[in-house]
Assembly symmetry: C2
């Protein structure tokens, strides 16, 4: 499917929302209202992000979440991995060794492709995601298929 889960999507939206606000703590209720995300689910997502160390939760009135990471230094891949676990594009690419072995000639190529996909997420940061304006979007250096 090559698709992010909705959890990851919500998580990225929430992180971006937090990055764009200066208040120290923002509640799930407020984030959910602004982003039109089911609050109950958003709460789960933010809890996971807190467990992953990307945000910090504060309880009680005036509580909520705040970013711990700097948006400029936080790769999107990190957010995705916290919410979905390690990125695993294909068994052929990520499994220790290809179980289909002998006849399968694509293992090396698949690893390369999977690596490129991960790179896309690792080389874009949360602040890149926010800039609808120009600039940013780091471009990876040219790369050849390694031997």
């Amino acid at each position: 499917m090559l698709r992010l889960t909705r959890r990851a999507e919500y998580g990225l939206m929430a992180m971006a929302f937090l990055a764009g606000r200066s208040e120290s703590h923002i509640s799930v209720r407020e984030i959910g209202n602004n982003l039109a995300i089911p609050k109950r689910l958003l709460a789960e997502v933010l809890k996971d992000l807190a467990r992953g160390g990307l945000v910090e939760g504060a309880r009680g009135p005036n509580g909520g979440y705040r970013l711990l990471a700097e948006p400029e230094l936080l790769p999107l891949g990190r957010v995705v991995e916290v919410l979905e676990g390690p990125i695993h594009v294909a068994d052929c690419a990520d499994g220790g060794s290809c179980e289909h072995e002998s006849g399968c000639a694509i293992q090396h190529g698949m690893r390369f492709v999977a690596g490129r996909i991960k790179q896309v997420l690792d080389q874009s940061t949360l602040s890149d995601l926010l800039e609808s304006a120009p600039a940013a979007a780091p471009t990876p250096p040219p790369q050849r298929m390694p031997v």
Copy 2:
């Protein structure tokens, strides 16, 4: 999850297998034996590839499948789309307009990221996948986040 289905993985393996053989038609049985893929499922995958015009099936004894596309000109993304349908990285990126609207500032950024991921698949060809050797693996030109 950002993960290819097993169907896509099997499909790529099979396509690569066909590309590496010179015989005109190779049966599901032979492909399945070589790649250690459940034959019944592999048959479904190859049928879909045939419907998608990437391979051609021939019935009867000595029947089987053969590649229709040239490996050097066939992007991996094409194979994936035939087997999984259009690549859809995230609702936020591919949906017409972000349903979470107002507060969601990442739609533009997500589209860019999704586009980069699709590029990875569209810029690698079936022959690239096969070369565990050197060369190939085309490198996309530098790109900036468009306004």
